[in-house]
Amino acid sequence: MFPTPIQKASGPTRLAYQIALPIALVIWLFPLIGVAVTSLRPASDLAAGNYFGVPSSIAFENYASVFRDSPIGWYILNSFKVTIPTVIGAVGLSCLTGFALAVYGFRANLWVFFAFVAGNFIPFQILMVPVRDLTLKAGLYDSTLGLVLFHVAFQTGFCTLFMRNFIKGMPFALIESARVEGVSEWQIFRHIVLPLMRPAIAALSVLVFTFVWNDYFWATVLVQGQHAMPVTAGLYALNGQWVAAWHLVSAGSIVAALPPVLMFFLMQRHFIAGLTLGATKG
């Protein structure tokens, strides 16, 4: 077996492994540990210059004051207002596009499919200026609706690739059999294909939720005011309010990271399935 399991390796190799692994782990987690520790550091420590040392006391009140003194609750609500409609919109649309591309052999099928796939290869940053102009002209600038529409547009390409391959992997005889039974195309989609797509829908929903919740770029490009600001961009705004209040910004970051982390642990199975499902047929 290759590689040799570490339990069967020679003594020195095992020792080196046991030393190197914790070191790598600490380096890897260092930023996260730093943020977590800072979020529990009292303000007085930061004022005294104790940035990296042991906190003088554990200050859970940082979390309370983030909620009390900043609009973070509002920002989180905005994040949900952006993420949930995006998940529904992108996954719903891609179920339809994926079905069309997988089931119907129309002339431009492959070209349309390539267009969806090719869209994924465009670095979205280069679209920043035109998209911002477009939202301004469409009257969607600085609104959660604008953010939702653009997230749906950008996510649908990947989702379509994923769904199309998933449906392609289903036995086509199911669809043909229903057709011979006199079932309409919409009924085939609704009663046969959609129920069988449940694992793909779950996996894709978790993925898209994480992508969109963690988006910082479009949140800063398309939104300016507090009323529509998602929590990722909102944290940046906190920074301006309390220039030196790193303990509060850290606490806010931890709070903002919780929903996707929770989502991941609750639906871990689907998340991992989602990373590999689209890769192969079936």
């Binding site: 036995p171 043909e176 057709r179 129920p195 069988l196």
Partner: protein, 362 residues
């Protein structure tokens, strides 16, 4: 009334022609089997009748109505797929009733017809199960149930038994035949297994490379094959083909067999030439009874209990199979006397067309 008629039906995939012009009439209530080697187009032809493949050229009529351009859902046919194609997320009962539910039948009506179909196929104890919990034979019965519940005029079967083991296949063969008797509907059945074709069909259509080789009842094809292809395809073990010289002689035909023996056959022949003599293993005599007798060396003996199958080589090395008594004692290496009864011999010309059929009537 649901007769199916195809006139000059063709199918092309791009430049490749799959079905090269089929004319066929299937009568109402007939059990018609399409048989042929894989790749001969038999499944494509069935799917064209179902509406799952477009008809490139020609016309299809079902029950007198032109169905050439009609979609599969409006043709009034039901199809059973090789893979069964059961909906995995529905129970057996839901699977059977699904088509009715989607086409707007009333709940009570669906329940009644589902129950009737389940009773007919002994599926009643399984109605609440999912397809994943069923055996192959049970799945096959559900697929058939899904077809009969709609009372179609035409049933289409696409190699429905090829995923089952041998004993189950024999059992399901009987069940489908019984179903045909009970329902009296037109059935079209595709298989590559000539035993299925022989045992079930009223009419067999032998296909090869997108063309019909011969249409007829099982016994007609067995006794009077039109050409070498049909002769070799129908019957198991397959017919022996022996190269011979044939010439007109005394108002009949004289053929010279390998080794020099001659055999007199009734019939007329225009000109002498090299031809192929066909003789089924079950008609060749291992005890030397016949109108010509050839010595042959046993290469292999298969003892099946009820019979023994000898593979023997003639003087020129031609191998033939001979069916003999179950207690025949010859071993490989032994010499046997093989008898050729003239009334069972078929003769095919150089193009493979039958000149003379050994239909045992002469």
């Amino acid at each position: 009334m649901a007769e199916v008629s195809l006139s000059n039906v063709k199918k092309d995939f791009g430049a490749i022609s799959i079905i090269k012009g089929i004319d066929l009439e299937i009568k109402d209530g007939e059990f018609c089997v399409f048989v042929g080697p894989s790749g001969c187009g038999k499944s494509t032809l069935l799917r064209m009748i179902a509406g799952l493949e477009d008809i490139s050229q020609g016309a299809l009529r079902i029950g007198g109505r032109d169905m050439t351009k009609i979609g599969p859902s409006d043709r009034g046919v039901a199809m059973v797929f090789q893979s069964y194609a059961l909906y995995p997320h529905m129970t057996v009962g839901e699977n059977i009733g699904f088509g009715l539910r989607m086409t707007g039948h009333e709940k009570a009506e669906i329940a009644k017809r589902t129950a009737a179909a389940a009773k007919m196929l002994q599926l009643e104890p399984l109605l609440e199960r999912k397809p994943g919990q069923l055996s192959g034979g049970q799945r096959q019965r559900v697929a058939i149930g899904r077809a009969i519940v709609r009372n179609p005029e035409v049933f289409l079967f696409d190699e429905p038994l090829s995923n089952l083991d041998a004993s189950l296949r024999v059992q399901m063969r009987g069940e489908i035949s019984r179903l045909h008797q009970d329902l009296g509907a037109t059935m079209i059945y595709v298989t590559h297994d000539q035993v299925e074709a022989m045992t079930m069909a009223d009419k067999i259509v032998v296909l090869s490379a997108g063309r019909i080789e011969q249409v007829g009842s099982p016994l007609e094809l067995y006794h009077r094959p039109k050409n070498l292809f049909v002769a070799g395809f129908i019957g198991s073990p397959k017919m022996n083909f022996i190269p011979v010289d044939a010439r007109p002689h005394n108002g009949g035909i004289e053929v010279t067999l390998p080794g020099g023996a001659t055999l007199q056959l009734a019939g007329t022949l225009a000109a002498a030439g090299k031809m192929t003599l066909g003789l089924r293993p079950e008609h060749a005599s291992a005890t030397g009874a016949g109108d010509a007798v050839l010595p042959a060396k046993v290469q292999l003996a298969e003892h099946l209990g009820s019979e023994t199958l000898f593979f023997v080589s003639l003087a020129d090395g031609t191998e033939i199979a001979v069916k003999a008594d179950g207690l025949a004692a010859e071993r490989p290496g032994d010499t046997m006397q093989i008898g050729f009864p003239a009334r069972a011999c078929h003769l095919f010309d150089a193009d493979g067309n039958a000149v003379l059929n050994g239909d045992l009537t002469r």
